[in-house]
Symmetry: C2
Subunit: 233 residues, 2 copies
DNA sequence: CACCGCTAAACTGTCGACAATTCGACGGTC
DNA sequence: GACCGTCGAATTGTCGACAGTTTAGCGGTG
């Protein structure tokens, strides 16, 4: 998820890379976090020199970090004007969900053909984790693990490029949703709504999985977009 | 297509932006072109200082250009090692086509519901252009206009994010295919194979369009991947 | 009071320089 | 002959500086 360890999911490598000492990546992570917890709000200008001063570095790595976040869709650039935190509107979130649905349904369909019982068990365990976190009231962590579940599902589709796209989309959605300031649904409901997906996977029922997953995703999409429209007019 | 004019397809804007004086973007275009016509070959190292010398600039904009191309998947970075032209293998091209199929089918399905007769006519005219270019033997241009046709189709789906992704994918495919050094099929066949898509669009037959488009794309995918496996072993 | 142009401050794009790291060649060792 | 460590050249990551542009504030004008 962070930019520090790009290869967080090494395809069977024994050791993951050591955390990069790269200044730019660390700065990008900081900015990402700042966007996530609202210290940077959408539309706000991000000044290279100011960030550089605050971080005690020169402008060069700050610039690279912002360009990285730009490529991930979290920062927008107006040439000679500077960098700004990307401000999502409801239509854009709707587009993002549309894209996510397209990718995830595709990956899930491919996954059904390749999935093993062990894989299904891992996914089921992840759902149990979601329920537990719902009980404990760890909402932030639950959101993170919810994305992780869907990421696992995408990964089982076997197309790593799709997984990378999913990561980008997830980051954007989290940034967009963060500024709602509240969750879009009851955590327990969310956790439970994954059960039907596990069922479909156990039976390797592609059609059913597609149907259920689509409903699952459109539920979230509908809630989020509706909330967004209310907040922003 | 180029990086110089990001808004090359302004959604109804009267004037396109003036060509950016941005050094980084122009450098990126040069490098992109160099990859396209084989002056830079996959796997080759790209040295910042050398590029900067050749272009008569400092390293800073070169670095930004390469990072931009990295975000588009044409350049890969090994930290503290430098930049390299991304070397595609057959499996990766297969993944890219898989992704393209997923996106384009989705966009096409959405397009059917929104498309006007004028839109269909524009697409049909584009197919005629493909045929004409096939006759004239302008293969390079035909390839470009072929992508343009599919881009138009994606755009009619209404999700601009999908279009941007398509652009990225197209760039990667062209870079990957460029090093085959030859076309993967008869230009006239390629042009004609678009006719069935127009037919399906005229009848607003989503199911048929999906079927035909899928076949259309898998044909290209099959040819390219097969050729690639032969060349590279 | 709204609008316009001017001036100063702030900022971006670009540049050249330096330290730390990496790469390649060389010679030494088994 | 293959392997290992060393040394010098080349390269990356980072830094501070400068020119041109943008922005914000201010006073003038209708």
């Amino acid at each position: 998820m962070t930019n520090t360890d790009k290869a967080s999911q090494p395809d069977g490598a024994l050791f993951s890379e050591l955390p990069s000492a790269d200044l730019a990546s660390r700065i990008a992570d900081q900015v990402l976090q700042a966007i996530g917890d609202g210290r940077l709000i959408p539309g706000q200008k991000v000044t290279e020199a100011q960030l550089a001063r605050e971080m005690g570095t020169s402008r060069a790595p700050v610039r690279e970090a912002l360009r990285l976040l730009e490529s991930q869709g979290l920062i927008v650039t107006h040439p000679r004007r500077g960098f700004f935190v990307h401000s999502y509107d409801a239509d854009e979130l709707d587009d993002i969900y549309d894209l996510r649905e397209c990718l995830e349904l595709h990956a899930a369909e491919a996954a059904v053909a390749r999935i093993t019982d062990a894989d299904v068990n891992r996914l089921a365990a992840q759902v149990e984790l979601l329920k537990q976190l719902a009980h404990e009231g760890q909402i932030q962590e639950q959101v993170a693990q919810d994305y992780e579940f869907h990421r696992m599902l995408c990964a089982l589709g076997g197309n790593m490029r799709v997984v990378r796209l999913f990561d980008q989309i997830a980051t954007q959605l989290r940034a967009g949703i963060a500024l709602l300031g509240r969750n879009y649904d009851d955590p327990w409901e969310i956790a439970q709504s994954h059960d039907v997906l596990i069922e479909a996977l156990r039976h390797k029922d592609a059609a059913r999985l597609r149907r259920e997953l689509k409903e699952h995703l459109e539920e979230a999409r509908f809630q989020v977009v509706a909330l967004f429209r209310n907040d922003k007019g």
